[in-house]
């Protein structure tokens, strides 16, 4: 029997508002424990929540980017359960009327387009962080995280493989970063992904029993955890067993999922409307205001790059993966660099340096117009491409302008024919053996001469002139 995989994703994103979702506390992640707290996020008696409007704006933006319908009227609800990381022992969330619903996200897997339905995106507050490393059998609770603004994005069970799940997450993250609503840092927990996985015999309509995988620290971890679960489900079913509905964690070291909570202990959350908050009423004007502020999203930008800059689909894809890189690229082009050359230098040369240092392009010392100037020096034959790469390394390290480095190091390309002629003649005289080989028809030896000439001119010789003069001299 062949099985079909059914996956739905739940992603919690910490929205980068300046203050928490229901109080004025800062959202800084790195503050010492229990310093970004107030009576409201500590759940002190008498304190009341007030919804952060920026959170609603950003949530609407996400909803629109995911092609959701924005609810004209939605509300907050209380989700009741007892846990020490929950200040009030209820979480303010949205239950039956989420802010955003009925959307979709287009993804591409192995060159094939897929549409993943977005069931809903709703606002809620984050919980505190428990630590059990204090010793003496004591646990600590850090309420800095309690009340951080969270958006939970839930998909339809439309995902059919671990690879698709990975592509969905990548594409979602890309959109969130384009919207500049979250830093999407999985290690710091500002993006948390949970997968609901089940399998069913191909052709069967009913879903199989699902398991939920939580607490995974990376997208590739999610992919691996799903792969593991699919195999586990199949093994269990093929051997006549049954899948238990449960929550499982991912053990990245052993590469296995581990049972965490069985369904029997699932909570009755006793949801009811939050009486301390008024309904969220988003009229057309509000929605339009947010829609007008939406940046160009990755899909649209990629298409535009292909047509406007005549880039290959692949190059346009790579350059639009992150909004920062795409912005950088467009700034280089705007500073009058050749679009194709700029694409190559941003994607390959600059990216190599950044990757090496695990740096983001925003942190790069080379400003886009500085890179454009470097590329213009190649075009104007002031320096050659080989030298330009060395100059780029210098620029990257020092932040100095290309012209300054070229000037200081005397790297200006030698385009004076007589200087190159002298160098060529000298090499030919010094290498009679190779000259003989060339004359015997061994064209390959040409490379040797070019190398020697470049060496003699410390790489500064204009490569085209070197070639022309070399051939002319050898024919003599």
């Amino acid at each position: 029997m062949e099985y079909e995989v059914v996956i739905g994703m739940e992603v919690h994103v910490e929205i980068n508002s300046k203050s928490k979702v229901f109080c004025a506390c800062p959202t800084d992640f790195h503050a010492p424990p229990n310093t970004n707290v107030c009576p409201i996020c500590l759940g002190m008696p008498g304190a009341l929540p007030v919804l952060n409007r920026d959170m609603v704006d950003k949530s609407i933006a996400v909803g629109l980017a995911l092609n959701c319908t924005i609810s004209r009227w939605s509300k907050m609800d209380r989700k009741n359960y007892f846990y020490p990381d929950l200040a009030k022992n209820y979480q303010i969330s949205q239950y039956d009327l989420p802010l955003c619903h009925g959307g979709r996200l287009e993804i591409e897997v192995d060159g094939e387009d897929r549409t993943i339905g977005i069931t809903r995106a709703h606002i809620e507050e984050d919980t505190a962080r428990n630590t059990h490393t204090l010793g003496g059998g004591q646990s600590g609770v850090d309420f800095n995280r309690c009340g951080l603004p969270l958006l939970e994005i839930v998909t339809e069970p439309d995902i059919r493989s671990a690879k698709e799940a990975y592509a969905y997450l990548t594409s979602l993250k890309q959109i969130l970063q384009y919207l500049n609503v979250s830093d999407c840092n999985m290690e710091e927990g500002s993006l948390r992904a949970e997968a609901n996985i089940s399998i069913r015999p191909k052709g069967q309509v009913e879903f199989g029993v699902k398991t939920e995988v939580k607490n995974v620290a990376s997208f590739s971890g999610v992919q691996k955890a799903i792969e593991f679960e699919i195999i586990r489900h199949e093994k269990v079913l093929r051997s006549g067993g049954v899948i238990e509905q449960e929550t499982r964690g991912w053990d990245a070291v052993r590469g296995v999922t581990v049972s965490q909570r069985k369904k029997e202990s699932a909570h009755d959350y006793r949801y009811f409307p939050e009486p301390d908050l008024t309904p969220i009423v988003v009229d057309e004007a509000w929605e339009d205001r947010i829609r007008k502020q939406l940046p160009e999203l990755p899909g649209a930008r990629k298409s535009r790059f292909e047509t406007q800059y005549d880039l290959s689909a692949y190059d346009a894809h790579v350059l639009t993966l992150s909004r920062a890189v795409a912005d950088y690229y467009e700034a280089v082009v705007a500073a009058k660099a050749d679009p194709k050359k700029a694409a190559n230098w941003v994607m390959v040369e600059l990216q190599a340096l950044l990757s090496n240092d695990k740096m983001e392009i925003q942190e790069c010392k080379i400003q886009p117009d500085a890179l454009a100037s470097l590329l213009q020096m190649i075009d104007s034959a002031a320096i050659n491409g080989k030298i330009a790469k060395d100059v780029l390394v210098e620029m990257y390290a020092s932040g100095l302008a290309a012209a300054v480095i070229v000037e200081k190091k005397g790297l200006t390309q030698i385009s004076d024919e007589s200087v190159i002629e002298d160098a060529v003649r000298k090499i030919l005289v010094d290498s009679p053996e190779q000259v003989a080989q060339f004359k015997a028809g061994k064209e390959k030896v040409l490379g040797f001469f070019v190398g020697q000439i470049m060496k003699a001119t410390r790489g500064k010789a204009n490569p085209k002139l070197v070639n022309d003069i070399l051939r002319r001299e050898l024919k003599k």
Partner: protein
């Protein structure tokens, strides 16, 4: 005969302090002396802030000495219900759970009183977490009715009503979820107003039922109620449910003119369930309006019978969540025997919450449970909307609705303690007002043969406290008798 300072109204005290006729310190000292004299019998105060009161009074006097303008409540001595958060002293909610709890912040209304130059004498008793109608559910002490020390002061703001009635403070701040200001005001013979939901900030009022709770004053005169309400009302950015409204002038609304006023009598309220003596007192009060040209109209509130059931579903549901935070993790009582987190919750809550609080938490948890939500909570919300509609319809025919505040006068301690349902009926006339988010006021309307106060309740349209206060003030000024002073005086 000049009135002793402790019988002066808030308005009189304010005027005297503002004019320099008397100092705030004198007022504070006089009231502290009064408390020393009577509170051993009344037991209204749970915390007496002697030093704080004198310190606040001295600050008011210093302000006067500097020639600065004094606030609208200059020197007025105030007793705060135990559930208002104050940085000074404890905020216990009359519960073992918060016995030693000190709030890190002041409630918005507390700040507003302080900004108006009021002086805090301390905190007064209440039913634990405002759950009750007799103040017998306090974990701290038993407050007596100043008219008869064997009788309850009503609740949950029983300490507020008793303290004001016994001349221990001119003003007390209470809270009203289903009648907790009006019913004790009625039973003790003082004035108590529950403003429209949203009129006064709830920030710093320890929540019982968030969609019903509202802060209001208990005073000896309607004028003092208006004066206080002008000070404490207004939009608060810290309370999303507080309403944005034009600046009020409730004092200015007390014109003594009720021409054109239409007073509605809901036929469902004047039934056999109403004690005949209370009925007579209320009907006499209505005669005052009739005799002075008001139009008395018959109105109907058909859903009244469901009010108590609806109320006890909604208030317990909200309370079950609101009180969940008292878990021993961050503050409040933590049971010393608890070894695990689960035990900490169970032991702490079982030990530190009184029986009525536990009953309501369990009821509320039940009505929200999966499988019961639709039958109870959701249905209750629908009926709540119908109750509100009843009032909307009635207010097309009248400007205020008149009714008894409580079906009976005060009762003896213990007489209803074994029967929670009978106790719940104490609020039969007040509960609908909270469900419909309307303003309501209780004004004393005489004494029963047993010498216990009766109260007239007036109910107004949403945010029409001005009409409500004008009507209440008119009755008070024209009722033709003085309530006198309770025997404890």
């Amino acid at each position: 005969m000049t009135k002793e300072l402790h019988w002066k109204s808030a308005r009189e005290i304010r005027d005297a302090v503002q004019s320099g006729a008397v100092s705030a310190t004198q007022i504070a000292q006089e009231h502290l002396t009064r408390i020393d004299a009577v509170d051993g019998r009344v037991d209204a105060f749970t915390q007496l802030w002697r030093d704080k009161a004198l310190e606040m009074a001295a600050a008011v006097d210093a302000k006067a000495a500097r020639g600065e303008t004094l606030g609208a409540l200059a020197g007025v001595p105030v007793g705060l219900k135990e559930l208002f958060c104050t940085r000074h002293g404890k905020t216990s909610c009359a519960s073992k759970m918060l016995e030693n709890f000190e709030s890190p912040y002041d409630a918005t209304v507390v700040k507003k009183l302080e900004e108006a130059d009021a002086v805090f004498l301390g905190k007064v008793n209440m039913d634990e977490f405002a759950m009750g109608s007799s103040t017998e559910n306090s974990a701290i002490k038993t407050t007596k009715n100043p008219w008869n020390l064997k009788c309850v002061p009503g609740g949950s703001s029983g300490g507020s009503a008793a303290a004001v009635t016994a001349g221990e403070c001119a003003l007390s701040l209470g809270s009203d979820t289903g009648g907790s200001i009006r019913q004790p005001a009625c039973l003790c013979g003082c004035v108590g107003i529950k403003p429209t939901y949203g009129r006064v900030s709830r920030y710093g009022l320890v929540a019982f039922a968030s969609s019903l709770d509202q802060v209001g004053p208990l005073t000896r005169t309607v004028e003092d109620a208006a004066l206080t309400l002008d000070v404490i009302c207004g939009k608060d950015v810290m309370d999303a449910t507080s309403a944005v409204l034009p600046k009020t002038d409730f004092m200015g609304a007390l014109t003594g003119d009720i021409s054109g006023l239409r007073v509605g009598l809901p036929r469902e309220y004047f039934t056999d369930a109403l004690n005949p003596e209370m009925r007579e007192k209320v009907e006499c009060a209505i005669d005052v309006y009739r005799a002075n040209g008001a139009e008395i109209v018959d109105v109907s509130l058909p859903c009244s019978d469901y009010a108590i059931a609806v109320y006890y579903i909604i208030c317990t549901a909200e309370a079950s969540a609101n009180l969940a935070r008292f878990d021993g993790v961050r503050y409040g009582f933590r049971h010393p025997d608890a070894k695990t987190v689960k035990d900490m919750y169970a032991l702490s809550k079982s030990d530190a919450f009184g029986p009525e609080v536990q009953r309501r938490i369990m009821l509320g948890t039940y009505v929200l449970s999966s499988g019961y939500y639709d039958a109870y909570y959701l249905k209750a919300q629908k009926v709540r909307a119908l109750i509100k509609k009843d009032f909307d319809a009635a207010f097309e025919k009248c400007d205020v609705i008149a009714s008894p505040t409580s079906p009976t006068a005060s009762f003896e301690f213990g007489s209803k303690s074994d029967n929670p349902l009978e106790m719940y009926l104490s609020d039969i006339y007040t509960i609908s007002v909270n469900l419909a988010t309307l303003p309501g006021i209780s004004v004393p309307c005489g004494l029963t043969d047993a010498g216990l106060p009766a109260g007239l309740q007036l109910i107004g349209r949403p945010f029409e406290e001005d009409t409500l206060l004008r009507a209440a003030h008119f009755y008070e000024q024209n009722r033709g008798f003085d309530m006198g002073r309770p025997p404890v005086a």
